[in-house]
């Protein structure tokens, strides 16, 4: 940058000011217009009373937050299990050689089937089916079946993410590891997987956003989590406001995670450039 370039930056650039103003006006017009249309719709007073009732909102929120702790338990536990089981599936799929064909087939079949079945069905089948077998204590916490079902479903997705990461590592890395005498599993553990995991953190987090939201499906087998609690509240007050409150809670929890993912993706994309630029200056210093 020349000194002239810096001097120009001192005062606000009139073009930048003008485009900011245009953006502001256009935003106000669009959203204001939409709000005006909704608020002046013939049914608005009724909708406002049953969906955006301040009193009901304030009354139900503390209970909803208590119930949300169950959702947090569900996704925190399931996420840890998914990270492990998904990786195991991915490694099973990446084993080459004819001996490992049955293992590859098993892993392939697993990911196909569990990506094909709607998650809520898996939750139903496990939540009502396993207790029905009579093998486990009928008083077993339904949350455990919920966690198990979410783990089975999301591991199928996450194993695909891991696999893409493993396949993105250049074969020369494995050649280097094997040439030093490391076994296939040691190469995976110390060389391939650590690099692969770093590359797939953004898509992994994306799957976890889905997992967080799908914890409400566990309500279908009788677990009182935030969605079930909202149903109870709603039935008691003849009002839909608790559902809107649930939506707000999820927005507050999920949006920061979404932005973290976007930031990580942007950082990875930009990451290569400063490094490449650093090389010549480093050589110059030698």
């Amino acid at each position: 940058m020349t000194s002239a370039g810096r001097a120009q930056r001192r005062g606000p650039d009139p073009r930048a000011v003008r485009s900011s103003l245009i953006a502001l006006v256009s935003t106000v017009v669009v959203f204001g217009g939409l709000a005006w249309i909704v608020v002046h719709a013939p049914g608005w007073p009724a909708v406002q009373a049953s969906f955006f009732n301040r009193e009901v909102f304030e009354e139900s929120l503390p209970g909803l937050l208590d119930a949300f702790v169950v959702n947090i338990e569900l996704f925190m536990t399931a996420e840890v299990l998914v990270l492990g089981f998904g990786l195991l599936l991915a490694i099973m799929r990446s084993l080459s050689g004819p001996v490992f064909l049955p293992i590859r087939v098993m892993s392939n079949a697993y990911t196909d089937i569990f990506r094909a079945i709607p998650g809520v069905l898996v939750i139903f089948v496990l939540g009502f089916g396993i207790p029905g077998l009579g093998l486990v204590d009928p008083r077993t916490d339904q949350r455990l079946f919920g966690i198990l079902a979410l783990t089975l479903v999301y591991s199928a997705y996450v194993s695909e993410v891991y696999r893409a990461g493993i396949e993105s590592i250049h074969p020369s890395q494995e050649a280097a590891a094997r040439s030093l005498g490391l076994s296939r599993l040691q190469s995976l553990r110390f060389v391939i997987v650590p690099q692969a995991v770093r590359r797939v953190i953004p898509p992994l987090l994306n799957d976890f956003i889905g997992l967080q939201k799908d914890t409400v499906l566990v309500s279908f087998i009788g677990v009182v989590e935030i969605f079930r609690y909202a149903q109870i509240e709603s039935a008691a007050t003849y009002n839909f406001t608790p559902y809107v409150a649930v939506a707000l809670v999820f927005i507050v929890v999920t949006v920061p995670l979404i932005h973290l993912v976007d930031w990580l993706v942007a950082r990875d994309r930009g990451g290569a450039r400063p490094r490449a630029a650093a090389t010549p200056s480093r050589l110059g210093a030698l």
Binding site: S172, Q173, A175, A176, A177, R178, S179, L180, G181, L182, S183, Q186, F190, V191, P194, Q195, R198, R275, A278, T279, R282, L283, L286
Partner: protein, 256 residues
């Protein structure tokens, strides 16, 4: 026994009738070569003549279709030979370094001794620090590979291979990916290794270097060893027309 003067020393590596194809492309068409202990053999030849494939076969990174490879008399191409145990005796350094980018220099060097030889961490690190110092890399031990110059990265790759104390070191065009001003520092490391008696098979395009360092030079052409002999003979008075042709092209390109 051959009459090439290498018979006095013990035999480090024996290659007999190696064939290797990738699909319908026959890359190695019957290679025979004996390397004595402490001998340095340079493989020269055009790109695609089979130099790299031969080295990868010796390290068992590629399986051979026919023929045998023996290391100190033990056949390593036999059925059921544990590959990992063989590979730790034969080090290889690649053209593109292939360092592990997620590890520091020290971790790159100590990984295999710790996990394969089960050397205790403290011992492995002490050995690595000594090797790094020997090759002028002491101050780089905590850097990640991306922060090093190409020449430094390649020297680390050599140290990483040496940390396994291999019987034989294979070098696959280790200066081809380097900027010209960084070639010398890597070649000097290899000269020092040769002086210390390391048995090496080196695929290279650096003819001047081959002349300096090699006990014998092999000219590979189209998957066979076309001519083999002392560097002065191969590079100054080649007997085979194809060797003369190849060297003529090298001289025209100003590389000799």
């Amino acid at each position: 026994m051959t009459a090439d003067g290498a018979i006095a020393a013990a035999e480090a590596l024996r290659i007999e009738g190696i064939h290797k194809s990738f699909g319908s492309l026959e890359v190695l068409r019957g290679i025979d070569l004996v390397v004595a202990e402490h001998e340095v053999v340079c493989l020269i030849g055009a790109s695609g003549s089979g130099k790299s494939t031969l080295l990868r076969c010796i390290n068992l990174l590629e399986s051979v279709d026919a023929g045998r490879i023996l290391v100190e008399g033990e056949e390593i191409t036999a059925e059921g030979v544990p590959l990992d145990r063989i590979r730790r005796r034969i080090g290889i350094v690649f053209q593109a370094f292939n360092l592990f980018p997620h590890m520091s220099v020290l971790e790159n060097v100590t990984l295999a001794p710790r996990k394969v030889l089960k050397t205790p961490r403290r011992q492995a690190e002490a050995d690595a620090i000594e090797l790094l110092a020997r090759f002028g890399l002491s101050d780089k031990r905590d850097e990640v590979p991306d922060r090093l110059s190409g020449g430094q990265q390649q020297r680390v790759a050599i140290v990483r291979a040496l940390a396994m104390k291999p019987d034989i070191l294979l070098l696959d065009e280790v200066t081809s990916a380097l900027d010209p001003e960084l070639v010398a520092e890597v070649l000097n490391v290899i000269r020092e290794l040769a002086a210390s008696g390391m048995t090496m098979v080196i695929a290279t395009h650096e003819m001047g270097f081959a002349r300096d360092i090699a006990d014998r030079v092999c000219f590979l052409d189209d998957g066979i060893i076309c001519e083999v002999g002392p560097p002065e003979q191969i590079l100054n008075e080649p007997r085979q027309p194809r060797t003369r042709q190849f060297l003529q092209r090298i001289i025209e390109a100003g590389r000799l």
